[in-house]
């Protein structure tokens, strides 16, 4: 029988914030809906995953989509899977964005914002490069044109390490 004081302490500790995703930590598991059925991290184990948190109102996200399409096409055969997690509260906004800027990679939807909370992301957009062992390799906030080269190199070296 759990003592009442221990139970009360556990409830108090439950209010602590989530541990932020950092390189070296295991990426928290999630299962989200997408246009092609549920998307879960465990199902993609073994692949190098570029997890991108985006929203329709985020300017740099608009810039990042053509680049992500390019990366998915270029490195898919080597084991890269880009997963874009949409964080719009309103699904209509996301669909409108995708009609203007199509995505050639998996797009999952998290309107509740549960996944970014568990990852404790600090900006929009945030991308997490997850290795084939399920551990985060790199966490990157924002997206600028001059960052593409470095991001691509990180992806390429993660794929090389996975083989």
């Amino acid at each position: 029988m759990i003592r009442k004081s221990v139970l009360a302490l556990v409830f108090a500790l439950g209010t602590l914030p989530a541990l932020a995703i950092e390189p070296g930590l295991a990426a928290p598991e999630f299962t989200l809906a997408s246009a092609r059925g549920p998307v879960s991290l465990t199902a993609l184990k073994g692949k190098v995953i570029y997890l991108d948190f985006w929203a329709s109102w985020c300017g740099p996200c608009r810039q990042s989509f053509p680049w992500m399409n390019e990366m998915q096409a270029k490195y898919a055969a080597k084991g890269l899977q880009i997963v874009g997690v949409n964080l719009d509260a309103n699904r209509g906004d996301a669909d409108k964005f995708l009609a203007e800027v199509p995505a050639k990679f998996t797009v999952a939807f998290d309107p509740q914002g549960d996944t970014p909370k568990r990852y404790a992301i600090k900006g929009m957009p945030t991308s997490v490069l997850i290795g084939s062992n399920g551990k985060a390799i790199e966490v990157h906030s924002g997206f600028r044109a001059d960052e593409r080269q470095a991001l691509e190199e990180a992806i390429a070296s993660a794929l090389a390490a996975a083989r």
């Binding site: 009360a8 409830f11 209010t15 109102w57 600090k122 929009m124």
Partner: protein, 75 residues
């Protein structure tokens, strides 16, 4: 109150002390509303310029939107 209940009551009370401090600023992914154009301080550029001109003409004695006027060399 008996000792058995004091400790658990104290733990719950300490946790509830967070109270209003538990309200956190919006998370990065919750800022969709703030990103709307209507939420910027500016509006129509021409309307802004007009407002600025009116303000400057009324506040001209104390410098308008620039440094304080006066003309006596005190500033």
């Amino acid at each position: 109150m008996s000792h058995r209940h004091t400790l658990s009551a104290l733990c719950v009370l300490t946790a509830s002390l967070a109270g209003c401090a538990g309200f956190h600023p919006p998370q990065p992914w919750e800022k969709g509303m703030l990103a709307k154009e209507a939420m910027t301080m500016g509006g129509d550029a021409q309307e802004q310029r007009f407002d600025q001109h009116t303000y400057n003409s009324k506040e001209a004695a104390s410098g308008g939107s620039g440094v304080g006027g006066g003309g006596c060399g005190c500033n």
